[in-house]
């Protein structure tokens, strides 16, 4: 069985699901708690404000992609600033993405151990998820996106059912005072949490896999809007059920919400279904992260295929996963990463767009 080094095109809906899953992985971690801690009762507004902040960034991504017929951002940087810059940016993005995936694997491992597998060594969970991630990523983004699309109905149904069941048990007054720590403070928090959508940078690397610019644009805006809605809904339900001082201390908020579902004799103890669905989404997210880091290396070094990079990068991600000494350290560093990664992830496409707008003229325009 010969594996082709060429990748097929991405379908719009599959790409939308894939990017959405990649963005929402952290929803199952501690992030809802961080939002509550930062914005109090107004934490549900934070994803919406962050979404509004990310839209101009994506517009830059879209404009740049359109200008260069959906070439990848690293190829464009090579064209603009030369191959050494392309190589450096490829390496830079790879390191950031490997660190990001490593921390995701660690927190996923901590989640599994805290909730379902208390006596299992964390190394087993991390290495298993890395192996599965490599297996999924090895077959390319086309296959990965189809897998995501197949699992999407299960994930979304379980998520919505759990959110609505637990939402109806909540109390509206826990959402007040309505503007949390203040209007300006909430907007400020929204801007600080623009990293909620940092995974959208994936689109800058996989742009060549889209057939049409319109599909590319729809996938970008669609997944941003969809994930912003999911985050907002989750924060509303979290605050309907937990008073704000308590919401910021909940270990794994979505899991805790799932455990609250208790409709007397009829419906209770549903969280095993939810953990299964969340683990599925997280695994897809980890696979996409590994794929993306391999792709950044490939495009940075102008290599013909990403597959040879997958195994060493997955091994590096596993190493990174073992760096934090405790769960709290992993969680804090991940939150910190979420705050600073948007600087390069959003900064690079925005800077490229500014450069292209101000300085770049192609041969047609020069005539």
């Amino acid at each position: 069985m010969k594996q082709s080094s060429q990748e097929g095109y991405l379908g719009g809906i599959e790409a939308f699901v894939l990017v959405s899953m990649f963005i929402t992985v952290k929803l199952f971690f501690h992030i809802p708690r961080e939002l509550s801690s930062a914005a109090g009762t107004a934490s549900w507004m934070v994803p919406l404000i962050a979404f509004l902040g990310v839209v101009p960034v994506f517009l830059c991504v879209e404009r740049v992609a359109n200008r260069f017929s959906r070439a990848s951002l690293l190829s464009i940087s090579g064209l603009l600033w030369g191959r050494y810059v392309q190589w450096f940016l490829g390496l830079f993005l790879t390191v950031l993405l490997v660190v990001h995936v490593g921390y995701q694997m660690r927190i996923f491992g901590e989640f599994m151990i805290t909730t379902l597998l208390p006596n299992t060594p964390i190394s087993v969970v991390i290495i298993s998820s890395a192996l599965l991630g490599v297996f999924l990523a090895y077959n390319g983004l086309e296959n990965l996106s189809r897998t995501a699309w197949l699992l999407f109905p299960l994930a979304i149904v379980v998520f919505l059912v759990s959110i609505f069941l637990v939402g109806f048990q909540g109390h509206i007054y826990y959402l007040s005072p309505w503007l949390g720590y203040g209007g300006v403070a909430t907007i400020e928090t929204g801007i600080r949490f623009m990293g909620l959508f940092k995974e959208i940078v994936l689109l800058t690397l996989i742009a060549p896999l889209f057939r049409k610019q319109k599909t590319f644009r729809q996938v970008g805006f669609g997944s941003l809007l969809f994930t912003a809605s999911i985050y907002t809904l989750t924060q509303i339900v979290l605050h309907l059920n937990f008073p704000f001082p308590g919401a910021r201390e909940v270990g794994f908020p979505l899991y805790q919400l799932g455990r609250l579902i208790n409709l007397q004799f009829a419906i209770q103890r549903l969280e095993p279904f939810m953990v299964f669905a969340w683990s599925t989404v997280t695994t897809i997210g980890i696979a996409v992260g590994l794929y993306e880091s391999a792709l950044a290396t490939t495009q940075g070094s102008r290599a013909p295929d990403f597959r040879p990079f997958l195994f060493p990068l997955a091994a590096l991600a596993v190493v990174v996963a073992f760096i934090p000494e405790s769960s709290i350290e992993a969680v804090n560093t991940y939150t910190y990463l979420m705050m600073i990664l948007p600087i390069p992830f959003y900064g690079l496409p925005v800077f490229t767009w500014i450069w292209v707008t101000l300085f770049y003229r192609n041969s047609e325009e020069l005539k």
């Binding site: 208390p118 060594p121 087993v124 298993s128 007054y173 001082p245 308590g246 208790n262 004799f265």
Partner: protein
């Protein structure tokens, strides 16, 4: 190459086998169904676990047990904390204690009076085996005493017993079922004092207990004990006048303030509390008949949530509460023909006046103690914009000097299967 890949994958798959280290065999697990915590000596806790004996409940496996005592075994351990008690219990129980099916936790009154309940909650929240949907109860006296003397009337399954009791609490309103999640949420919420449902032993029924069975007392003794009790059952915190059944009574609520048990309220007061806290579902109310003799009973359900309006006038909070109840007529002891528009209006107004009086009484009681277990501040915070305002609000002080006006709307919708009461026209009884 393919063979090498297959071999490599197979070897790597062996890693997954390590996941079996978290396996929990049913045959090696002892499920704790209920737990009691009392203040022990020298700062210790007396922790009681009721462990299920699943085989004794399975009729197919030859189990022919009829009581809770035969399907479970209590174990008491003295330790410095719940976690230590769990670890010490493993020195004498041959299986691993598992709390995933824990349904109820009882806290002894002494523990609550000394402000030690809140200190035990952290274990229940932190350990993933404990669920936040576990019910919590406050016992009058030591939890262990009630733990050992409880005798469900019908159920031998702890889960069904607990579910049934909690369902009755919701439907009769003499208490309020509270889960760990609800209790913790109230602890963490600004300007509300948490409550726990009360559980106590009935001394009359306890005297009937012999060899783990309840033997109802003779009529003469019952009459003797009944004598002198003038207040209706549930009006005070005193136990009901009762013979037979379960020695345990789930009635009343314990009010906490700043971590300590501050007061115990009766079943009637719990009903009024439920109305204000919006935890009222339905209850049977018995009212004195307007003719001054006899009673009539109505089952009243909440028709909509309370409407509470709070505003400040000359720096004095003015609280206006509107409660909406409707329901069915259950009995007309006086045999008066009330089932017509005028008659129903009479008994509705009478019921509303009595409920208003009871609600105002509990409000006055809370104001006197400068506490707000009703969480009336939720109506203030719903108009707030910033958390800082909520934190700066001195609600308990404001509430204690508030002028409260309560208006109850009672509507009797259905008279039951009888219209006017049966009346023999020659009968002049009771006059």
């Amino acid at each position: 190459m393919r063979k090498v890949s297959c071999l490599l994958i197979s070897v790597l798959l062996l890693l997954v086998m390590s996941g079996c280290s978290s396996e929990r065999e049913l045959e090696r697990t002892a499920f704790v169904l209920t737990m009691g915590i009392d203040k022990g000596e020298d700062g210790n806790l007396d922790v009681v676990f009721r462990v299920a004996i699943p085989r004794s409940m399975d009729i197919r496996a030859g189990g022919e047990t009829t009581t809770l005592q035969e399907t479970t075994k209590p174990i008491t351990i003295t330790a410095r904390s719940i976690s230590e008690a769990i670890s010490l219990a493993s020195t004498n129980v041959e299986r691993k204690l598992d709390f995933r099916h824990l349904r109820i936790v009882l806290f002894g009154e002494e523990l609550a009076r000394e402000g030690l309940v809140f200190h035990q909650i952290d274990t229940l929240e932190r350990n993933p085996e404990f669920r936040r949907t576990t019910y919590m109860l406050l016992t009058e006296g030591p939890a262990r005493e009630i733990f050992l003397s409880t005798r469900p009337v019908l159920e031998r399954s702890v889960s069904r017993y607990v579910d049934g009791i909690m369902q009755n609490m919701r439907e009769q309103g003499y208490s309020r079922p509270i889960t760990l999640h609800e209790f913790v949420s109230e602890i963490e919420t600004y300007h509300v004092d948490p409550v726990l449902p009360m559980l106590k032993n009935n001394p009359m029924v306890l005297t009937e207990k012999s060899d783990s069975k309840i033997k109802p007392m003779p009529e003469a003794e019952y009459k003797q004990r009944e004598a002198g009790k003038t207040e209706p059952g549930g009006k005070t915190t005193e136990s009901l006048t009762r013979s037979g059944g379960n020695p345990s009574e789930f009635i009343g609520i314990g009010i906490f303030h700043q971590g300590k048990l501050m007061d115990k309220w009766s079943g009637w007061e719990a009903n009024a509390y439920n109305l204000l806290r919006d935890t009222y579902h339905r209850a049977i109310w018995t009212f004195d008949d307007p003719i001054g003799k006899y009673t009539y009973a109505v089952e009243l359900s909440k028709s909509r949530s309370p409407e509470v309006n709070i505003h400040w006038q000359d720096e004095t909070p003015q609280i206006s509460v509107d409660l909406y109840l409707d329901g069915d007529l259950l009995s007309l002891q006086s045999l008066e023909p009330y089932v017509n528009p005028d008659g129903l209006a009479t008994i509705e107004n009478n019921a509303a006046t009595i409920i208003e009086k009871e609600v105002l009484q509990v409000i006055a009681k809370a104001q006197g103690m400068k506490i707000d277990p009703f969480f009336l501040s939720r109506y203030v915070r719903m108009h707030m914009t910033y958390i800082q305002d909520l934190q700066a609000l001195n609600w308990r002080e404001e509430f204690s000097r508030a002028q409260v006006n309560v208006h109850v709307n009672v509507k009797i919708r259905r008279p039951g299967l009888r219209i006017q009461p049966a009346k023999e026209f020659e009968y002049i009884g009771g006059q």
